[in-house]
């Protein structure tokens, strides 16, 4: 233990907090089932570290120090409340030891990382979708309520009510703290990934960038590390990296949006793109996120809009349309085909989608997908505008 300058100690607290906060909360929730207690104990540990570390020095194992303090707080609290011995014993044994990654046949794994259990709990389909996002941000990413409220355009009171109701539902309905197994795992993993995807694109900061993209990337990295056999997890992480690589190129100095085809591609983050490609090359990306990642990879690796592999993109959209037909996918599919095979092919697909009511009730038919899809040629664009305008007729 060495004396530390206040600034150095504060940054040590921040670093240890970033690394271990969610693990502490997840561990305490697993053992006690008490969300508020878990969060309060973890926060108290951080507060105590901020007070002590500048005076006493940063401990040799900062993460374990935080866990010990939080765990002891929980033990004190529950002893007062007259908790069972079993729970107290389990609490005393809580540590931050690494757990093994979970294989594809995940159900059999006895040791599942507490954060994995918690993320499946936070993203349970029996909770309202917004609540899943808020719970995940609050509990696993420790995002302050005020920041979540600002990005999601709701008041803090509304958010707090949402959190209280979600926690009550978890307790009352018996939503378990465990990873699903068997066929349910694939379905439930899809739920988790859709929450991460929503976090990545939902809510915006002052500059108009998604407010929680870093949190989403961080959670996707964690899932990928702990569940390496799941190709959709890897694909989602790759998709995030490709989209995030354009962060710096997406706006002009005045904050106005620059479309994909006019962006300065030298400003794209080459490291992020390379990492995305490596991740993608290790899995067979056949699921919905896999296909979206393959499309994003085509854009990310093209030197210009013209040099883009539109045929590969068209193939991916065909497959996406087959597994989950949405207006955005149908529209982008038509655009991709027009670039790959000529406007006539794209127009025919668009007509087909409109005949099948595929574009009915599709709001913002132009604004959506702007980032991924370069503008189609004028003739096609006119048709898309018309399709958008007549969507209610």
């Amino acid at each position: 233990v060495t004396e530390a300058l206040p600034v150095a100690a504060a940054s040590a607290v921040a670093a240890a907090g970033a690394e271990s906060y969610s693990r502490i909360v997840a561990g305490l929730i697993r053992v006690t089932g008490k969300w508020t207690l878990a969060e309060e104990c973890a926060q108290e540990a951080l507060a105590l570290a901020l007070e002590r570390w500048p005076k006493e020095g940063v401990p040799a194992s900062p993460n374990e120090w935080l866990m010990t303090v939080a765990r002891n707080r929980a033990i004190d609290n529950l002893t007062e409340a007259g908790a069972e011995r079993g729970v107290l014993g389990e609490l005393a044994a809580l540590s931050l030891g690494e757990t093994e990654p979970v294989g594809a046949d995940a159900g059999s794994a006895a040791m599942v990382d507490d954060r994995i259990r918690l993320i499946f709990m936070c993203c349970h389909p029996a909770l309202p979708f917004e609540a899943r996002m808020v719970l995940t941000l609050r509990t696993l990413c420790a995002v302050p309520i005020a920041n979540i409220a600002k990005a999601l355009l709701v008041t803090e009171a509304v958010l707090n009510r949402c959190l209280t109701q979600a926690k009550a539902k978890i307790a009352d309905a018996g939503i378990p703290n465990r990873m699903p197994s068997g066929p349910a795992l694939t379905e439930r993993l899809r739920c988790v990934l859709s929450v991460l995807h929503a976090l990545f694109i939902h809510g915006h900061d002052a500059k108009g960038e998604p407010a929680f993209s870093e949190e989403a990337i961080c959670l996707a990295r964690l899932l990928q590390r702990l569940m390496p056999g799941q190709s959709e997890v890897s694909a989602l992480l790759a998709l995030f990296l490709f989209q995030d690589s354009r962060r710096e190129a997406r706006r002009d100095p005045d904050g106005r949006r620059i479309t994909l085809e006019t962006q300065d591609r030298t400003r794209w983050d080459a490291d992020a793109i390379a990492e995305g490609m490596t991740i993608l090359s290790r899995v067979s990306p056949e699921g919905p996120y896999g296909l979206q990642a393959r499309i994003a990879a085509c854009h990310a690796t093209a030197t210009s809009p013209k040099e883009t592999d539109w045929r590969e993109i068209a193939i991916c959209y065909d497959e996406l349309a087959r597994i989950q037909s949405t207006p955005a996918i149908e529209l982008n599919r038509a655009v991709a085909h027009s670039y790959a095979y000529g406007a006539a092919v794209g127009l025919a697909l668009l007509a087909e989608a409109r005949a099948g009511a595929g574009l009915d009730d599709y709001p913002h038919s132009l604004a959506a997908g702007v980032d991924l899809t370069p503008r189609p040629d004028d003739r096609l664009r006119r048709h898309i505008v018309t399709a958008g305008r007549h969507r209610r007729s």
């Binding site: 349970h124 029996a126 018996g174 939503i175 378990p176 465990r178 349910a184």
Partner: protein, 114 residues
């Protein structure tokens, strides 16, 4: 935990009729592991009567209190470890495809009054 599973009709049942699950298999499976405690089938909703008392006066009316197209046809009392287990029990019930199921835990009386 004890869950009451309401079995209801739905205006949009599953169109995929390939895998027909039958209720006897479902009952046998969940009786064997002790998850199905009890089941009751209701008479048609035309047999329902609604009773209210307002300012000391008895009001008796014909029919169920909620006028919806979807009706409850039966219910099952389940004993499950948690919601995920109850969802798995519901998944294989024939009416999960033919209608819809609502699973609702019984309130823990001791917890409610504490």
């Amino acid at each position: 935990m004890k869950y009451l599973m309401f079995v209801c009709t739905d205006s949009e049942p599953d169109t995929d009729r390939e895998i027909e699950q039958d209720i006897d298999t479902w009952m046998a499976e969940h009786d064997a592991c002790g998850r199905r405690l009890q089941s009751m089938v209701l008479s048609p909703k035309s047999a329902a009567t609604t009773v209210r008392v307002r300012q000391g006066r008895l009001l008796v009316t014909d029919g169920p209190f909620a006028e919806t197209k979807e009706v409850m046809v039966s219910f099952d009392l389940l004993e499950c470890a948690d919601l995920d287990e109850a969802i798995e029990v519901a998944r294989t019930h024939p009416m999960a495809r033919g209608g819809r199921l609502e699973i609702r835990p019984l309130a823990d009386y001791e917890q409610v009054t504490a």
